[in-house]
């Protein structure tokens, strides 16, 4: 996954997005390696247009789907759908219109911090909200990740 380029490309196209998931966990010090990036994007027409344009050069295609499906990465497709798990030439990216327990971009943006990621001020879901989202997702594979995030929260509280 070429995260620096992914972040740069999204900012270059002024895409309104925020980062959740494993990359957000890394931002807070998680030791877990993640192979995809989870982004929540604003569902306005203008932003969908920017998102589509930003990712188009990197051949987005449904991750794990058989080849040669009639999939078209377009504003029409994104408007008709909501959450897309994509393979791109920059790596795996989950492009999410809504997330369980957090809702849409507008709901989550108020629960973010701004972090410089590779030189770009980027909205990242706050640590308490990251834990909340992972709890809401209720996936067994997240249990250890939640435990780690809670430990990080404690460590941050006790780190000057």
């Amino acid at each position: 996954m070429d995260l620096p380029r992914m972040v740069a490309v999204l900012h270059a196209h002024n895409v309104e997005f925020l980062v959740i998931g494993g990359i957000a966990a890394r931002v807070y010090g998680s030791a877990r390696i993640t192979q995809d990036v989870d982004l929540v994007y604003a569902r306005s027409d203008a932003n969908i247009g920017r998102l589509v344009k930003a990712l188009a050069p990197f051949n987005p295609y449904p991750r794990g789907a058989p080849p040669n499906l009639p999939f078209e990465w377009s504003a029409r497709t994104v408007k008709a759908g909501l959450n897309f798990t994509l393979a791109t030439t920059l790596g795996a990216v989950d492009v999410l219109g809504e997330v369980t327990g957090g809702g849409a971009y507008e709901n989550l943006a108020g629960h973010c911090v701004t972090e410089r990621m590779f030189g770009h001020p980027t909205l990242v879901i706050s640590l308490p909200w990251l834990i909340r989202l992972k709890r809401a997702a209720g996936r067994v594979r997240d249990f250890e990740a939640i435990a780690e995030l809670e430990l990080l929260q404690d460590l941050q509280k006790h780190t000057p």
């Binding site: 996954m1 010090g29 030791a31 108020g110 972090e115 435990a147 780690e148 990080l152």
Partner: protein, 130 residues
């Protein structure tokens, strides 16, 4: 570690500003309607003053809204999650916290590059030995 974005109801300041914006009122007009001064409104919106619940309720009512406070149960410790904690190497976390955000992300990138390399090698071998 950055700052809270404060776009909506996460603070009295953002809440009041949002209510006033929706009510299309200036700070002074809102203050007059609520029977207070513009400087009080300005200080709250700037995050320089923390209003009491009563004061905040009065101000948002003057903007045409009703303040509702909701108690939600907190998410206390979960026994299953707690059971995972002793097995987590905290020294690694402490080490990561000493790094910059980019440093933390770059480690992830390096691992991913290594995974990609392994995948490519595996693919080559599969092609050589179908």
């Amino acid at each position: 570690m950055g700052y809270y974005n404060g776009m909506n109801q996460t603070s009295a300041a953002a809440l009041l500003r949002e209510a006033r914006d929706h009510g299309a009122l200036s700070q002074r007009a809102l203050a007059d309607a609520a029977g207070t001064s513009q400087s009080v409104v300005g200080r709250i919106e700037a995050g320089l003053a923390s209003p009491s619940v009563d004061t905040l309720a009065r101000l948002v009512e003057a903007a045409g809204f009703e303040l509702k406070l909701v108690l939600e149960p907190g998410s206390g410790p979960d026994a299953v999650i707690e059971a995972y904690k002793p097995g987590i190497d905290q020294s690694l976390l402490i080490e990561n916290l000493r790094l910059s955000v980019d440093g933390r992300l770059q480690i992830n990138t390096h691992f991913n590059q290594a995974f990609d390399e392994v995948d490519r090698e595996r693919l080559k071998r599969a092609e050589r030995n179908p």
